[in-house]
Symmetry: C2
Subunit: 254 residues, 2 copies
């Protein structure tokens, strides 16, 4: 007997971002695994087991969920945003590659979701309207020198840059160092967006520039978008400014 | 009297990817604007006007929708995937910046969706599990030299690369040239994923390598993901291979 495992993206922190596919996967699971605050977003259902774990236990969580599925259960791992972007889907694949042959035989589905950069971009306008990249600033799993090299490559290449995991309690300095490094390549006036807790009551969007961005205003729930030299800001009387990157290179197109 | 405009992401081609927020925005609109095949995915509703246009008329569509909203209507523009990724949100911002002051006064909302690279990645495993970038191969709005420079920067920087708009009838050669260029930097064994029409009956995922990828197998509905030197393939007897990029740089982590 062999079960199945779904790795489910919840989207940003509100049910209005939860796709019908994700809803169905959560509804049909016998057991849910996940970081506590993500699990808390899924309504309780009688007979459905819940296994909460810390956000730094991704490898152990993946293995426990795979073993539960291999024992015959229908299992879902929940992930904030999209499970494929700096989240649980890669951890599950790593565990499958290193684990027993039976884990390769499981029915595995990855259920995509709205990842944080898309939600933050939508609230600000269209900053990701042209070529862009996503970089995690966590140096828990890669050397900081690699991150610096990628920041340089992205800024020099004219990409808009979405920064995931900008800071944590154990890594308070990374965002400041990264912004200072980008400022060596990009104009001081480059728009920078701090987006926090989109879809939650404490949601906040702050539009600033590379010269004035305050790294201390970011926390673990923040995603930062740094514009390219093409990114523009439209002031709107009585409304928040719109930030966007034109589809055409150079001046705004019509 | 002033109306409102929502720019709505439908996600990939199936209702199971449509978020409740997008559903609500479509339901409350007096008028819908969009590329014909996207509009066709929205169930008809009595009293709701529909304005279909060609996919190369984004600027004109944005202006028409803004004017309709400025005349007092509740308007929605539909976009496949996410409207902020190579889609209508930037076109709307461009039109607002260049248009009459009244357009800045409209209530504007961008409704994010699951963009193609997330859906393709989910079907293949977790190829976007580490730093990645998204590049449009269309040189309609930017010089080809810029695209080449960005391909080089992305490959040299170790990013996984999602290629949007890989080919069109008017641009049949771009994908082949781009893959050949990437092959000068990346190993011949680098995994390449062709994902087509995810969520539709003719959905297709093909996993190959940089050495063997056939550009002719891509069409306008295809998204291509080129791995980084870290991207791995897990063979599964009787099931499709899983493609993923480990969270840690170098060897797979546990």
């Amino acid at each position: 007997m062999s079960g199945r495992l779904a790795v489910v993206g919840l989207g940003p922190g509100d049910a209005r971002y939860l796709t019908p596919e994700a809803q169905a996967a959560l509804g049909s699971a016998d057991a849910l695994f996940g970081y506590g605050p993500y699990l808390a977003r899924v309504p309780a259902r009688a007979g459905q087991a819940r296994h909460a774990s810390d956000n730094r236990e991704e490898g152990a969580r993946a293995k426990a969920a795979l073993q539960c599925a291999a024992d015959g259960a229908s299992v879902a791992i929940v992930s904030g945003g999209d499970p494929g972007v700096f989240a649980m889907a890669a951890a599950v694949c790593e565990a499958i590659e290193a684990g027993p042959a039976a884990w390769r035989d499981l029915e595995l589905s990855i259920v995509p979701g709205v990842t944080a950069m898309l939600a933050v971009a939508a609230k600000a306008g269209a900053p990701l309207g042209h070529d862009f990249c996503a970089i995690s600033l966590s140096d828990n799993l890669k050397p900081w020198e690699v991150i610096e090299h990628r920041l340089d490559a992205a800024a020099s290449g004219g990409f808009v840059i979405a920064l995931y995991n900008p800071v944590s309690r154990a890594r308070p300095k990374q965002l400041g160092v990264a912004l200072a490094r980008l400022a060596r390549i990009l104009p001081a006036s480059t728009p920078v967006i701090f987006g926090r807790a989109i879809g939650r009551p404490d949601e906040r969007i702050n539009v600033t520039t590379l010269a004035t961005a305050d790294p201390a205003s970011a926390d673990m729930a923040t995603l930062v978008i740094v514009g390219s030299p093409q990114t523009r800001v439209i002031e709107r009387p009585g409304r928040p400014a719109l930030v966007y990157t034109p589809r055409a290179l150079g001046s705004p197109a019509c």
